[in-house]
């Protein structure tokens, strides 16, 4: 099958970017979206043009490296699917795909589809952990964890830090990402001692970066490849308010 791609090309943060049109003539329906870009890039290199820069590593939807907008949707049209797992059989011959980087002030563009997501690391650095020095832990079964708590913690912990939630949000808020970590740790008995301080520090950091605030629109949940639920944001707000009042 044949597809028309319009891809955002931008040499570096200083230069202006623009959409460039490419034709992919020999698309195999079993390919993934990033394999399609590989094929386009091979041709560009042989024509002495610079290949399209995009991030990827695991190519199985778990590392969170990949991600871009396809026709205005973060990670493209398939629910719960990163672009590295998005199979071309979801498109049909002649489709036009508009491929753009995440657009958010907090994620400045580095090149083409590659953006700087280090703000996420700084949010974790601010308190997204349990302070437990190596070697100081009690036996793993000393503190029992109800199955339900561990299952719900796991649901939240599944976040891969891809940034789609920010890209989809009209406010470019990082509430879903931040809430997911606060919920993961806050649902476990091990996470209780630092629970409120953690919420306070992480939310402060999130506000200090260039993210917007959450107005409960829900676009983030719709695009999240790991199906993180909006309720993590409610949890974050509760913990944050509790911490601010005490």
């Amino acid at each position: 099958m044949k597809l028309i791609l319009h891809v955002w090309r931008q040499k570096n943060p200083a230069q202006a970017g623009r959409m460039v049109r490419y034709e992919a003539n020999d698309v195999n329906p079993d390919m993934s979206m990033v394999e399609l870009l590989d094929v386009v890039n091979e041709e560009l290199i042989l024509k002495s043009e610079e290949p399209i820069a995009f991030e990827h590593d695991c190519r199985e939807g778990i590392c969170g490296s990949c991600g871009f907008m396809i026709n205005g949707i973060a990670h493209g049209p398939e629910a719960a699917t990163t672009v590295c797992q998005l199979s071309m059989r979801h498109f049909k011959d002649g489709d036009e795909l508009y491929i753009e980087p995440w657009r958010a002030k907090a994620f400045p563009i580095i090149k083409d589809l590659v953006v700087d997501r280090s703000a996420f690391d700084r949010i974790i650095e601010a308190g997204g952990y349990i302070s437990v020095p190596t070697g100081s832990a009690p036996d793993g079964n000393v503190i029992l964890v109800p199955k339900d708590a561990s299952d719900r913690a796991m649901d939240a912990a599944a976040c891969i830090g891809c940034g789609a939630c920010v890209a989809a949000c009209p406010n470019a808020s990082a509430a879903l990402f931040t809430g997911a970590k606060i919920a993961h740790l806050g649902l476990l008995p091990q996470g209780q001692p630092e629970r409120h301080q953690r919420a306070l520090s992480m939310v402060r950091q999130f506000n200090a970066e260039q993210f917007g605030s959450c107005t409960n629109i829900g676009e983030c949940e719709a695009v999240c490849p790991k199906e993180i639920k909006l309720e993590v944001i409610a949890r974050m707000n509760r913990d944050f308010i509790h911490a601010s009042l005490s």
Binding site: C63, G64, R117, G128, S136, M154, L188, Q190
Partner: protein
Amino acid sequence: MLLDSRAPSGPIEKLWDQARFEMKLVNPANKRKHTIIVVGSGLAGASAAATLGELGYNVKCFCFQDSPRRAHSIAAQGGINAAKNYHGDGDSVFRLFYDTLKGGDFRSREPNVYRLAQISVDIIDQCVAQGVPFAREYGGTLANRSFGGAQVSRTFYARGQTGQQLLLGAYQALERQVDSGHVQMFPRTEMLDLVVVDGHARGIVTRNLVTGRIESHAADSVVLATGGYGNVYFLSTNAKGSNCTAIWRAYKHGAAFANPCFTQIHPTCIPVSGEYQSKLTLMSESLRNDGRIWVPKKAKDKRPPNQIPEDERDYYLERRYPSFGNLVPRDVASRNAKAVCDEGRGVGETGLGVYLDFSDAIRQFGVDLVRERYGNLFEMYQRITDEDPYKVPMRIYPAMHYAMGGLWVDYFLMSTIPGLFVTGEANFSDHGANRLGASALMQGLSDGYFVLPYTVGDYIAGTKLEKIDASHSAFTRAEAGVTELTARLLGIQGRRTVDWFHRRLGKIMWDDCGMSRTAAGLESAISQIRELREEYWKDVKVAGSADDLNQSLEKAGRVADFFELGELMCLDALHRKESCGGHFREEYQTADGEAQRNDEEFSYVAAWEYKGADQAPVLHKEPLTFEYVHPSQRSYK
């Protein structure tokens, strides 16, 4: 070159205690004056960097991804072993030690493996305390499953995302140290050379992957935690960026490379579907607990699976290995899949596949239970193949997965270059010729949280190092070398892309140094690799420039190293005239086609020393002795 394992002697269960007692300590007030470089932020690197930072050292940690959280460890699915014996099913430290040594086909060092089994229990405690959401029983205790053929339930897991959760635990511990100022993180930074001064590892030279800047970093000790080299085969289950560059460049400075030919082919991966294919996806081997593997009895039988009657199917693993059946170790399962496909009985369009069938399990336990156990894996399979495994059997085929070989290290995880430590998949230490499922995560965290923090300290306390910084001439020389290599790659401007070459290299390695090997095949592989490498340096085309983000250039440097490593792997496979673990030499098999080890001649670690670009590497042997476990022929019949 001296290969002294420095393993203490005495009763095996006391060795690690004794070694720790004998180690020299660094005065706490002085720790921050010592800089330690950790290259890699996977399980091995992140755990080491976090713990060293916590101890007060000044740590610099590097990774090539945009965040340490994305290291390839994130992709591990199945689980992590630990000898907790929470189920009272007969597990113990000694049994885990025994299983690991036997699973590795008696090609690893007893004291290291024993220590690994001992530490395994502390890892679980540490990770639970960090908030890793391991699966739980209804009573709130930790759940376990049996994995990869183990006959006890010792595998801890977090759904199908164990690696992700363990890595996030380590990453968060690392970020805590970044926050406290003990660790400085350098993401999007690739190590391109090691700097050795007066025989000691004293730093690295890196390229900033965004600006292209070549930079030097000096230190008192360097830790490499850069992962495995499975991507030498081009197609593998590894992440696309996984590479051998850091360990290869250290090898060129005198770090011995051990058992490079010991690679693991995983039996349950989704088969290759086309020319464009960029990587292979692993299907967790837990599927073999309930799925039955078969092919048609007749060659070239193109009927759809549901039209092949029961008596025309060959459940070949159950037939050949009645006691282990579908749960034989990875190497055995992979080799048998290849054998039936070589006989023309493979399935799917390419004939390179076997069925993994759940229809009996669905009949027996009901679709709901099967969904509960494997739902996410079935979904993943369907996403990729567009086939529904609840209705049609899965098709699977082996794929390159893990490198047991790596840089040689002693009991203290130090390489043959003093001050250079190697950890995780990048070293050769604990898995012998074959790794058991759920043991790599255990090894990475054992090394990083519990071994290196002691042994690096011992080295620093016991070594008088001259004060140097990055202005030392050794750094300027290394920087010049790296800059020149980059310019050379960009200057060729030939007619073929890096991937074009990489695919061809991978094909040679897979055909001749993959699941089964012969002397003739290996010799031909060596000459083909040399030819292709020569062509590479004349005809490769790398786009873009040296001074900005250039992914094509990054790949080009990595593939240049893969060529050289590939040749060494073949050389090692050629010299090892026996079959053991993942290394199967067709010439050395028993009458019924099983691997035939030769302990008399090959019970040693093969450590290769680099002698220069146009010289053959020199082989050194570290003899392996077994005091506690007597080597026996593995049998899964």
